[in-house]
Symmetry: C2
Subunit: 220 residues, 2 copies
């Protein structure tokens, strides 16, 4: 395998955060015929935190940066998949202490969440101490295989800490079957102006594939 599509498929019965406990449907899909010529057009209505998506600081911080601030240079990263499938409840600073984390790293945490298909109330999350540790290391981004990076923490300190330190947050990854290691992460969120999150198709590519692609396509 050279490519891993680590995105969650969007459809009406997909898992959504808190199982829609706010009573608003997260997703509706209306399929339409638009004219007598058999053209199909669909209308999609989603909460922007549906499926795989990127959070902007505005999500948790008043008047902070929106998706408009995302730069295309920030859609391609070296990212490392880290196997944390042994974690039972939450990722803490302690969990991360033995991992070599450098300034500018983009870390993707593969947990037992990737084995669950529905929404699991007790999903593995990034506990406040881990967020503070990651912020102190000045990581560029983190990704996790749950629909949120945190639960059960009043005031959402993990979000606030990471967003305040300009750390990109990628939620809703699917990492089952993806080996630990370094990849090229392609994650260009759709270009919605001035909102607090945007859906993204996240792809991991082995760097050797991309090097071969460049050689094959451009050095002829």
């Amino acid at each position: 395998m050279k490519f891993y599509d680590v995105s969650m498929p969007i459809h009406e019965s997909m898992p959504v955060y808190n199982d829609n406990s706010d009573k608003k449907p997260h997703i509706t899909i209306e399929r339409d015929f638009v004219d007598g010529q058999g053209v199909r057009e669909t209308r999609l209505s989603i909460n922007l935190h549906t499926g795989t998506h990127v959070d902007a600081p505005l999500h948790m911080i008043y008047k902070a940066a929106t998706t408009t601030e995302f730069k295309p240079e920030d859609f391609i990263f070296r990212a490392r998949v880290i196997d944390l499938s042994f974690v039972e409840d939450s990722i803490t600073a302690e969990t991360l202490k033995n991992i070599d984390i450098q300034t500018g790293d983009f870390l993707l945490f593969k947990t037992r969440n990737s084995l669950t298909d529905g929404f699991e109330k007790n999903f593995v999350f990034i506990e406040k101490s881990a967020a503070e540790y990651l912020a102190s290391k000045k990581v560029k981004g983190i990704g996790i295989d749950s629909l949120g990076i945190e639960r059960s923490q009043i005031g959402h300190p993990s979000h606030v800490t990471l967003l305040q330190s300009d750390c990109l947050i990628l939620e809703g990854l699917r990492l089952k079957g993806v080996p630990s290691g370094d990849y090229v992460l392609l994650a260009a969120p759709i270009k919605i102006r001035d909102v607090e999150a945007a859906p993204v198709r996240a792809i991991l590519v082995e760097p050797s594939w991309l090097a071969d692609f460049l050689k094959g396509e451009f050095e002829r």
Copy 2:
């Protein structure tokens, strides 16, 4: 410049196909506070042909392939930007005859459409003869800087011809200021299951940038 974001921003007053003549709003954006802790969440409702998007065969062909069939290997291409800003009405087979087009090419047509910000009724389109010519050349994909590849053709023959020949169709590009030439096109549409189109953040990257990125990030 090493990066070009060739995507159209999505917002409530953006141009939409036919100026919403079907009287259904293409886009609504509802901004919400979800709880007392100042969390912002937005709900987006769009026609899937809003802004920059990829069409799947189902759009115009009964029971044909949907977005579910898209493969991640098809999200990274060598693509060529071709300046057709001299074209006044439509791109025909004649327009393309002097261009060296090879099997497997992905061609992005830059026309006077990229200079318009609103929806222009008489946008430059891909006329049936050009679609047939491109299909005969077995191109892998085409992109254009209008919200549709065609207008004023009963039965949508340009769509049907290209979709039947497995040519990817990328609509709603913004190519103003992008020089002609070869680029790496990153175009991974969001993963919506079983529909006829999907929004995409399309990015053009100069191959030398990507080669340097791989060297700098992975060969240390």
